[in-house]
Symmetry: C2
Subunit: 101 residues, 2 copies
């Protein structure tokens, strides 16, 4: 079980583009990646530009498959036009216990 | 959809107690709370004392039900003997898009 928590900020003025890109990416992951068990984009209500993504993959192969998808390449190509690349923080986490459903 | 990200630190020397309490709590939530869609305790491999809990509830009623459970009361009563109460950080988040399964 591989868990990733990613954080980044929307560039001011790009809120609508960000929402569209996020929705498209989440739908593509859900449809095409059976090894992705959770893939959730959240917004901090107190800091609406701050996005936190919570990602859970079944195993290393599912992470590798995620990185190799066309939708990930498309999201990556758009990323720097919508989100501040300097704001990106990625944490890899290990599950101790719990579930998603 | 209500999302909560909670962070806290294990008191040094309490690692085994922490793991037991976490596993018991996660199992109780999974068994007794159909409105809890994800409830995942993670450990930062680089900082093993740092626990991050990712919690998703179907709605406000599911959050209220979670807080009213006996297992939550028991976990709360133990909490300060295992985890540093001064380290607790709780963020409420709003889902923009995504899924868990």
């Amino acid at each position: 079980m591989n868990t990733i928590i990613a954080r980044f900020r929307i560039i001011p003025g790009k809120e609508a583009d960000a929402e569209a890109a996020i929705k498209k990416q989440a739908a593509a992951v859900e449809a095409a990646e059976p090894g992705a068990l959770a893939y959730i984009f959240n917004r901090n209500p107190k800091e609406p530009a701050e996005i936190t993504v919570f990602e859970v993959y079944a195993d290393d192969a599912a992470v590798a498959a995620h990185r190799a998808t066309e939708h990930m390449a498309a999201f990556g190509a758009l990323f720097g036009t919508i989100f501040d690349p300097g704001s990106v923080k990625i944490e890899r986490q290990e599950r101790v216990a719990g579930f998603s459903r």
